[in-house]
């Protein structure tokens, strides 16, 4: 069953497609959407996908995703597609991309990493080691940050 049969099209806003099955709620968390903002939001989970087997889709009415949010989404949905909708038409379609360096989005999980010292002003920075599964390397303590560690930070 296509998602159009489950949720109708939106007039203006953002459709995030090709989210790994089960990650739709985390995508909303990453975007800081809690449900009190007033936008109409549709979440479709576990629908069939040729690419992913199963996938989630998120539709947010009257909110266009900001460029800085796109990299955040890539951290948990590396194959996601962002569709910007105006007047029922897709005016921009963009695949998320993971940059080689990720700054100030996620935190290192090593408690004795200098970046976790509140009294020091340091921007956490990571190198991308692997895209699938996502593995980041802290540029300060050189410990791995795995996909599950990243997801946990947004839960």
């Amino acid at each position: 069953m296509s998602e159009e049969l489950v949720v109708r099209k939106i007039r203006d806003g953002t459709v995030i497609d090709h989210i790994p099955a089960g990650q739709a709620l985390n995508v909303l968390r990453i975007m800081g959407i809690k449900g009190f903002e007033g936008n109409r939001i549709a979440i479709v989970m576990n629908v069939e996908s040729k690419k992913l087997g199963k996938k989630d889709i998120v539709k947010i009415e009257n909110r266009e995703i900001a460029p800085e949010e796109i990299n955040k989404i890539a951290l948990i949905a590396p194959n996601a597609t962002i569709n910007i909708i105006r007047n029922y038409k897709v005016i921009k379609k963009e695949k998320v991309t993971l940059p080689d360096k990720i700054k100030n989005i996620v935190k290192c999980i090593n408690p004795t990493c200098i970046t976790n010292q509140e009294r020091e002003s340091i921007i956490p920075a990571f190198k991308l080691i692997s895209k699938n599964p996502i593995i980041l390397l802290c540029e300060y303590c050189e410990r791995y940050l795995l996909q599950e560690d990243i997801i946990r930070q947004f839960e």
């Binding site: 990493c113 970046t115 020091e120 303590c141 791995y144």
Partner: protein, 308 residues
């Protein structure tokens, strides 16, 4: 090539740069036989030791003084402004304005990188948590190079805490700059190298062999690098209790060892090496500790631009 550089990791250097440090260290040994030199007269070294240290701190201080420079710093955060609540960044800013070069040690990983980002003066990592101890690994490599005239082609075994031991991890990283025949990594299951390190070694195609049994490899090796299982690095004390005292080297174990085997240890040791080994030809750990002075003299002179 060296002037003004920070030393945060052994991997900041290329092989030819490490070999240059070895050559200059040999020259520094000659200075030491004379007593001292005025090569760094007027220069000031700041030692910011937020964590206990004997060898690293004293050998840096000795190295600076042997080259005619002077030293400021602290080894007890309790008597510095840290005790008043000053953060590390501000302490580094101050030291940077007082000194020409800074050595920092701290229990937190990544602190030297932070210091290097703040300071204009060169920053040397004197050990940051479980992460890096680059000057120790240069000393370790220099000791092997002095004994065998090479590092390439040797069978090298690293024993003990390979998970939290910064000296061991830095030494393994340092070996990747050369072409050892084989690297044997011997540790209890709980203290095997971290995945990050394993992946790095794999990515450069290094030939490693991991085992829990020292006996299995002892007779094939040229260098045995022993490390202490460090209680202070364990996040969970129960984990330490499971592995403490895992390895103890005694003379009996060495009966079939290669004739020119050398045993290294970054020190301090507790009971990993029987003291009776101190009097055998295998014991190289005191020579290794003594090499700390010429190697650190060499680094100070190169980073401060007194030698190219």
């Amino acid at each position: 090539m060296f002037k003004g550089r920070d030393v945060l990791s052994i991997l900041d250097f290329k092989r030819d740069e490490i070999e240059r440090i070895f050559e200059v260290s040999n020259e520094m040994k000659k200075i030491l036989t004379k007593g001292k030199s005025n090569l760094l007269e007027g220069k000031i070294l700041a030692t910011a030791f937020f964590e206990p240290s004997t060898r690293t701190k004293l050998s840096f201080e000795t190295a600076m003084q042997r080259l005619g420079g002077s030293v400021i710093g602290f080894s007890e955060p309790s008597i510095s402004s840290i005790a008043k609540g000053e953060n590390i960044s501000d302490t580094i800013r101050m030291l940077d304005s007082y000194a020409d070069i800074i050595v920092i040690r701290h229990r937190l990983e990544g602190v030297a990188k932070l210091a290097a980002e703040i300071a204009n003066s060169p920053v040397i990592n004197g050990g940051d948590g479980t992460h890096n101890h680059p000057t120790q690994s240069i000393i370790d490599l220099y000791t092997i190079w002095n004994k065998f005239g090479k590092i390439d082609g040797l069978n090298i075994c690293v024993l003990g805490d390979l998970k939290y031991g910064r000296a061991a991890i830095s030494f393994i990283h340092g070996l990747t700059l050369f072409n050892p025949k084989k690297i044997f990594l011997v540790s209890p299951q709980l203290l095997k190298i971290r995945q990050e390190v394993r992946d790095f070694l794999k990515s450069i195609g290094l030939n490693i062999y991991e085992t829990e049994s020292l006996e299995e490899v002892l007779n094939d090796i040229d260098v045995l690098y022993v490390t202490r299982i460090q209680k202070e690095r364990f996040p969970d004390p129960a984990e330490y209790e499971k592995v403490k005292g895992s390895y103890r080297i005694n003379i009996e174990m060495l009966k079939n060892a290669k004739d020119d085997l050398i045993i290294l240890h970054p020190l301090p040791r507790i009971d990993e090496i029987d003291i009776n080994i101190d009097y055998t030809k295998y014991a190289y750990y005191f020579k290794q500790a003594a090499n700390g002075i010429p190697v650190r003299m060499s680094l100070l002179a190169l980073l401060l631009g007194a030698i190219e």
